[in-house]
């Protein structure tokens, strides 16, 4: 049986019976495998890239020195290790003194990413693997400018004297943390004791860095987490750099979505292919029954044939997927620093499992139906085939698709949107297709013979034609989604970080400086300056009950509740913030006073709408009820606030301002001039980080585009399968028309009329579907602004018309190229 099934498979394959089925499977498996391969490797590479912002794979921070236990464990596990100590201290050069953020580092720091240094201010910088040599310090640009020193000049830190070795232009792990306000002074760890600054009670931040291969790191992190004591924490990517996290998540969603699209489309192609396959094998099945094959024997035969097919297609798909991802990796090699980690084997299983589930989900029900085919069909043509296309038949297939979506998306939300979107589209498409066909039946009875005959053909098999319209529409939806709308979605993503996104933050602006500052910036070509008042306040009570570190078990909560929050007051909701609960300040709130709170903070401290919060700022307290909960956009590079109050509540408190702006290109000295003109201001330059983000985004988008090709291929295949679906019948009809004396021109015109209507309906539906799905994805899944695209509405019908007309031409030529009797005989 196994061997016979294999022989039957080879025979069917040779005769071209399996083209659509096999291609559908190969594309599904290939798409899934390549996305999985690729996602696996790129995710690893990106994670590594993203780890630069920690300077390590694992970054451990404590307010006291780390015990040798942790250090030894890193060494014992064969991981690389570095250490740093951070504190704030005065630095002196000549007559100038300045509060510096001192970072003492061990050789090897940073373990991920590289420091960049320059020999002087405004001199090109370059990567370095070194740390400051003994007796030397590296200063950042602000510090060099403020202390008025250059390379080789002397500088005093504590009791020790150093020489300035270089300008430190980039620390990969510096981030945007507001803790890093003071300018940087970097020194070698061994030189630190000489300064005498490390005393019992000094506020020093001890960092332990570890890096190595993935599994070792994972195990070490697990080991270390279980042993963390008070004041010790492990920074992970999630809480270190939310803006990088957001980009990664979005890219993974895009990739996952692409894979899912390939799955759904391939499922449609496979469903169509199976339908055609079973229809073409009905007679063969009946003949074999006449030859004495039992139902169970035939069921086994076809099932095994399909299993062989799944095996072969899965193998081909995996090879294809591996090839494509190799190509992608090679293409990305220029973009991703270092070598990509090798791909694992899991994508092979993922791809193969997808192939088997899809094929069995869609092929088994029709195969089971084949059992119902009466053998009598071979002598009595009026004994029909079993009813096809009933929803029940495809429930297994639909379940299979949903299962796969869930598996590949890894989250219910996205999978549900995609599945629901396609299911709704199918239903709607089918309803509209039937409706349109009926409408044509009622009103489309005029015109030439060919036109009327063509339309009559449409109506003669409304079921098959509706299926065809839906399939073509789905194929077109995918193609449009992947061409036009995809571009729009990616543009919307890029829009999040436009080239003129704010790249400088100004902190500590005094109220009386605001006017002078904005004039200064305007003179220097800065167009938009956004400033927010900022009051530092501690949260001291919730609903009258005092709160403190002891009320919370989470380390971060403990830290936050003991510190001051930056609270701002505004009457309008910031553009990037979205309300998740409650309502923004109304007139009543503005008069009475109210607080709007960030979603995660609300969760962390157990704060709900209606709770009254009491804050303490500069010895005075204020309190107000919570009236709304917001989510922030960490990718926006704008100042974000956990707490926003109504203006009246805070206006009397001492406030400084925080502002962000985009520095005009080519003005490298603006930051320097700004610090000189307003010495009290802290200028935070995030342009490097921003560039890094934009770079990551660009390479992600490029990679996503490449993987989109798979889904596109699947979309085209659906079109092909849909057009094949009724080809046998059309060939037969063309022959009948010819036999009845119709001219070639008349046959062609009739088919063109039929296909023109089919194509136009399907094309419009495709445009509609692509727009609807694009909108849903943009607004619901990716949280992007949807950009309307008029071209879709032209491209859809045009594509629909083009492909069906082309098909009609090719199909009719096949039918017309031979004597009618040949076509009739074959179709009988």
């Amino acid at each position: 049986m196994l061997r016979l099934a294999l022989r039957m498979l080879l025979r069917d394959a040779r005769a071209g019976e399996l083209r659509v089925l096999a291609l559908g499977l190969v594309l599904a498996v290939g798409g899934i495998a390549s996305v999985a391969f690729f996602a696996d490797r790129v995710r690893q590479a990106l994670t590594r890239e993203a780890h630069q912002v920690l300077g390590a794979d694992v970054l451990m921070t404590a307010d006291h020195a780390w015990t040798p236990e942790f250090r030894d464990e890193i060494a014992r596990r064969g991981l690389s290790r570095a250490e740093s100590m951070n504190f704030v201290s005065m630095a002196r050069a000549g007559n100038e003194t300045l509060l510096a953020a001192v970072k003492a580092v061990s050789p090897g720091y940073p373990l991920r990413g590289k420091l960049r240094i320059a020999p002087g201010l405004n001199v090109p910088d370059s990567d370095t693997d070194a740390v400051p040599p003994r007796g030397m310090v590296w200063l950042d640009e602000r510090m060099m400018a403020a202390l008025k020193v250059g390379q080789g000049d002397a500088i005093e830190v504590g009791r020790a004297r150093f020489r300035v070795g270089a300008v430190l232009t980039l620390e990969p792990d510096r981030g945007v943390s507001f803790m890093n306000f003071a300018p940087r002074l970097m020194v070698r760890l061994e030189d630190l004791p000489a300064t005498g600054l490390v005393q019992p009670g000094s506020r020093i931040n001890y960092q332990l860095l570890a890096a190595g291969e993935r599994e070792g790191i994972r195990q070490f992190e697990q080991w270390a987490r279980a042993r963390l004591g008070r004041g010790e924490r492990i920074d992970s990517l999630e809480n270190a750099r939310p803006e990088v996290r957001a980009g990664l998540d979005r890219a993974q969603s895009f990739l996952g979505l692409t894979a899912m699209l390939a799955v759904v489309l391939s499922a449609v192609a496979i469903a169509l292919g199976t339908r055609r396959y079973t229809q073409r094998h009905l007679d063969g099945y009946a003949v074999m029954r006449c030859m004495g094959a039992s139902q169970s024997q035939l069921f086994a035969l076809f099932t095994w044939e399909f299993l062989w097919l799944a095996l072969a297609a899965s193998f081909a798909g995996c090879v294809l997927g591996f090839g494509v991802q190799t190509l992608v990796a090679w293409w990305l090699a220029a973009l991703i620093p270092g070598t990509l980690p090798p791909p694992g084997l899991s994508p092979v299983w993922q791809g193969a499992a997808t192939g088997f589930v899809l094929l069995l989900g869609f092929a088994l029900p029709p195969l089971l139906q084949l059992k119902e085919v009466p053998a009598l069909r071979v002598i009595r043509r009026d004994v029909g085939p079993p009813r096809q296309g009933a929803l029940a038949v495809y429930i297994m297939g639909l379940a299979a698709v949903f299962g796969l979506l869930l598996w590949h998306a890894g989250e219910l939300n996205l999978a549900s949107y995609v599945f629901g979107g396609f299911a709704a589209a199918f239903g709607l498409f089918a309803a509209i297709a039937y409706g349109a066909l009926r409408l044509i039946g009622r009103f489309g009875r005029t015109g030439s013979v060919s036109w009327r005959y063509g339309l009559a053909n449409l109506l003669r098999r409304p079921h098959a034609n509706a299926v065809q319209i839906v399939a073509i529409a789905v194929g077109l939806t995918a193609i449009l989604l992947l061409t036009t709308i995809r571009g729009d979605l990616l543009d919307a993503w890029r829009e999040r970080l436009p080239p003129d996104a704010p790249d400088r933050f100004l902190v500590n602006i005094q109220p009386e400086q605001r006017q002078a500052l904005s004039e200064f910036l305007e003179r220097n070509g800065v167009e938009r300056l956004q400033a927010f008042p900022m009051v530092r306040a501690r949260l001291v009570a919730i609903n009258g009950k005092p709160v403190g570190a002891e009320d919370y078990s989470e380390e971060r909560a403990k830290r936050q509740i003991e510190r001051e929050f930056n609270v701002t007051y505004l009457s309008a909701l910031p553009a990037d913030n979205k309300l998740t609960e409650g309502a923004w300040f109304g007139a009543g709130d503005l008069a009475r006073g109210a607080v709007s709170i960030e979603h995660w903070i609300a969760e962390r401290f157990g704060i709900r709408i209606g709770d009254t919060l009491e804050f303490l700022s500069a010895g005075r307290s204020f309190s107000a009820p919570v009236t709304s909960v917001r989510t922030l956009d960490w990718g926006s590079m704008r100042p974000n606030f956990f707490f926003i109050t109504t203006p009246a509540l805070l206006e009397s408190f001492p406030a400084s301002y925080i502002a962000s702006f985009h520095a005009p290109a080519g003005d490298a000295l603006l930051t320097l001039r700004l610090s000189q003109a307003f010495p009290n201001l802290t200028v935070i330059d995030v342009s490097v980080i921003l560039r890094q983000l934009q770079f990551v985004m660009d390479q992600l988008i490029g990679a996503v585009q490449l993987v989109f090709l798979f889904a596109l291929g699947a979309g085209v295949l659906v079109l092909y399968a849909a057009l094949l679906a009724t080809q046998d019948e059309r060939t037969h009809e063309a022959a009948v028309m010819r036999a009845l004396g119709a001219s070639r021109a008349q046959v062609l015109a009739a088919q063109r009329a039929e296909f023109a209507v089919l194509g136009a309906i399907a094309g419009l539906l495709g445009s509609f579907g692509a727009t609807a799905i694009g909108w849903t994805l943009a607004t619901r899944v990716f949280q992007l602004d949807f950009i309307w695209d008029g071209w879709v509405w032209l491209a859809g019908p045009a594509l629909g018309l083009a492909c069906v007309v082309l098909n009609a031409w090719a199909g009719a030529r096949a039918a017309l190229g031979r004597p009618p009797i040949a076509a009739l005989r074959e179709a009988s």
Binding site: L4, R7, R11, D12, R14, A15, E17, R280, D283, G284, A286, V287, M288, R289, C290, M291, G292, A293, S294, Q295, S296, Q297, L301, P374, A375, L376, V378, I379, R380, A822, R825, E826, S828
Partner: protein
């Protein structure tokens, strides 16, 4: 169908004739166990056909029957020799390829083993069907209008071949036709009118 009573002896050749819609094909379907009657029975080589389940009837068909159809019913994805091999393969018999090739030579298609049905003429396709029917050495050959889709000259050639092979293999033949000339070549002729036997001769 009503009042059908009929006995066919081994080696006999029986023609069932009648106009379109007279029930010829229905009777053939019942004889082969492809259809089930409301009442009545069919005995095939001593076995009660409708006392068996569908798979039992299938097994009986595999052992005893060969079929020739009006519309040939070759599998389009299989070439000539593969079509002839199919019943042997389904029965799990050895040497299918050799036996099929031999049988195709017997029907004069030894040179066209690898041709697909769509590249064969109607007469050639029906000869492949004959080879397929005889390759299992059936005891009973059921032929349903074997010349219905062929022109007169080709049809005559196919009929000639069928009777020759039938005689060589001593097969019992039940032939449904509306062609009196072909029916005349059978020893018995059963005429159906509106679902009843309307005489025998």
């Amino acid at each position: 169908m009503q009042d059908i009573s009929l006995e066919v002896m081994p080696g006999e050749a029986v023609a069932i004739v009648g106009a379109s819609g007279s029930g010829k094909s229905t009777l053939l379907g019942l004889l082969a166990g492809l259809d089930t009657p409301n009442s009545g029975q069919v005995q095939l080589d001593g076995a009660d056909l409708f006392g068996l389940d569908e798979d039992g009837r299938a097994a009986l068909r595999a052992r005893l029957l060969g079929f020739v159809f009006q519309s040939f019913q070759l599998l389009p994805a299989l070439n000539a020799v593969e079509n002839v091999m199919l019943p042997l393969e389904l029965a799990g018999e050895a040497g299918a390829a050799d036996r099929a090739a031999k049988m195709l030579s017997r029907v004069g298609l030894g040179e066209r083993l690898r041709h697909y049905p769509k590249t064969l003429s109607g007469g050639e396709q029906q000869r492949v069907a004959l080879a397929r029917a005889f390759v299992t050495q059936p005891k009973l050959l059921l032929a349903d209008e074997p010349t219905g889709n062929l022109d007169a000259a080709t049809g005559a050639g196919v009929i000639e071949l069928m009777f020759e092979m039938n005689a060589e293999a001593h097969t019992t033949l039940v032939l449904v036709t509306h062609d009196e000339a072909i029916a005349g070549r059978c020893r018995r002729k059963i005429r159906l009118v509106a679902g009843r036997i309307d005489g025998e001769g």
